[in-house]
Point group: C2
Chain length 301, copies 2
């Protein structure tokens, strides 16, 4: 029933505003009786590091994004949004928008990205030099690969251009957008990570299900906001960055089928340029295609 | 889609916090683009006195319950609750709980009462002398009849025990509960009024649809909270109150079918006692039944 989701989100909101709160106070705020409330919290604890004990309920500050104060950033935390990308449009540069649920999350080429409870749905809005903005398609997937390996011990691969996959399942996605404003480049880095959510699609998986327990999400947020505030350092050696990207690129050397607006191209994925374009080779020659040109890419085998 | 309702409620929350707000600020908070946001506001303006003009959106303070400061009362306004009755349990006496949406609103005998956008879903929690509590089943329907007549020009009737009907459609309902606490009587007066909502049931109608325009709901809230804080005055002449109740009682003199836990009773509704019990007469005699005993009452013709 649709209103049940709305009530559950209201409960998330109330709990996000406290590290710990008496259950009786939550009963008053949410208007459901104690036994049912405890059922609701138990359900939420599949997605959040929440606990009830001695008439109180707590949400780990390491998992509650409202508790995060990312240094040097404007920070907007919302329980539900259409899309963090849209919210970020109205924020100044150096802003982070985080939402517990996205109803109209966007993927590449207008595809929808479903953002449900327990995941991380984030937009970083930053000012960049044009030469930094150009390497974001390489740098951001590498950053996610490093984070997953170093912080969570998960070895993932990249599906070109910038899906993060484990086996053949998607665990994170990236959406990059940019605009010039008074000759300054503004970049929007949209990142969706299936952390503790249960992804609604067969082709996706969450970190929770890979490692077998819930992950405190603020560790991920801190890692990413820390590195994205020092992007210059991340991209200071573009050749090495590109090498690292290639090392993890599952797409490389495989037969791929690329849908473009002017038709389908099949061939072997041979290389990626320093700006992230894919080189596909087939009998008709070598094709250099940007992520803007390829609407959909499939690994053929 | 279920998440769309949750997003709509989030928009109601944001707008409730301001009399007037720039649309660009709402775009940031809600994360949907301006044209779509304006569509959402247009949809909400079927239920709320909201307007967009000159890049701003406003919600009439006369309709936005967050703007109400009922004198002498504790006041809890929530966008969504399970039930205002349950919220009120954790509030001190002399509290009002108002919610824009109730997912688990209760009617008499555990029936659910669906509380959707634009209605008024209220619980008044008060201390009463036992003799005042006893006449609430008479006093509260009379108060609603007066309010609807004097403030909104609508002549309604009462369906025993305390449904307020227009023609044969329900426009308001009452749920009375009470408890003793340290020898003090605490009464919960639950009132649901179909003001500007579109009731989901065929057998219900809203005031909006009767008068042809939206009603600023705070006028209703002020009227009710004012009179309920002076209940002693309302019930000072119990005989006259009962007369007024009887005058508007559509059930009186009609053939009724009453479902009780021990079976069905048919007969003519002859009278109501000063405590609100219904007298039904049939060939087997005269039956005096409280609202606690009658699970469901139907007007047979």
């Amino acid at each position: 029933m649709s209103s049940e989701l709305a009530l559950k989100l209201e409960l998330v909101r109330i709990l996000s505003e406290h590290d710990e709160i008496p259950i009786s106070e939550v009963v008053r705020e949410i208007g459901v009786q104690q036994d049912e409330l405890i059922n609701m919290i138990n359900e939420l604890s599949r997605y959040y590091l929440m606990e009830t004990a001695r008439s109180r309920v707590s949400w780990s500050p390491g998992d509650n994004p409202r508790r995060l104060k990312p240094w040097g950033w404007n920070y907007l935390y919302r329980i539900i949004t259409g899309s963090t990308m849209t919210s970020a449009k109205q924020m100044p540069p150096w802003s982070i928008v985080v939402s517990e649920m996205q109803t109209q999350g966007r993927g590449r080429h207008g595809k929808t990205w479903i953002g449900n409870l327990g995941g991380l749905w984030i937009t970083f809005k930053i000012n960049t030099a044009p030469q930094v903005a150009q390497v974001l398609p390489i740098a951001i997937p590498v950053l996610l690969v490093r984070m997953l390996r170093d912080k969570l011990g998960i070895n993932v691969e990249i599906k070109w251009p910038n899906d993060i996959i484990f086996g053949d399942k998607k665990i994170a996605g990236i959406l990059l957008e940019g605009e010039y404003k008074e000759s300054v480049m503004v970049s929007y880095i949209g990142i969706g990570i299936n952390v503790n959510n249960d992804p609604p699609l067969e082709v996706a998986e969450s970190i929770k299900n890979i490692v077998g327990h819930l992950i405190p999400r603020n560790r991920i947020l801190s890692y990413l906001s820390g590195w994205i505030s020092r992007l210059d350092r991340l991209v200071s050696k573009p050749d090495e960055l590109r090498m690292e990207y290639m090392e993890h690129l599952s797409t490389l050397g495989r037969k791929v089928i690329a849908m473009t607006s002017s038709g389908e191209i099949q061939g072997i994925a041979k290389d990626v340029t320093e700006y992230g374009e894919l080189i596909i080779e087939n009998e008709s020659g070598s094709h250099r295609l940007s992520s803007g040109e390829i609407l959909r890419l499939r690994h053929a085998e």
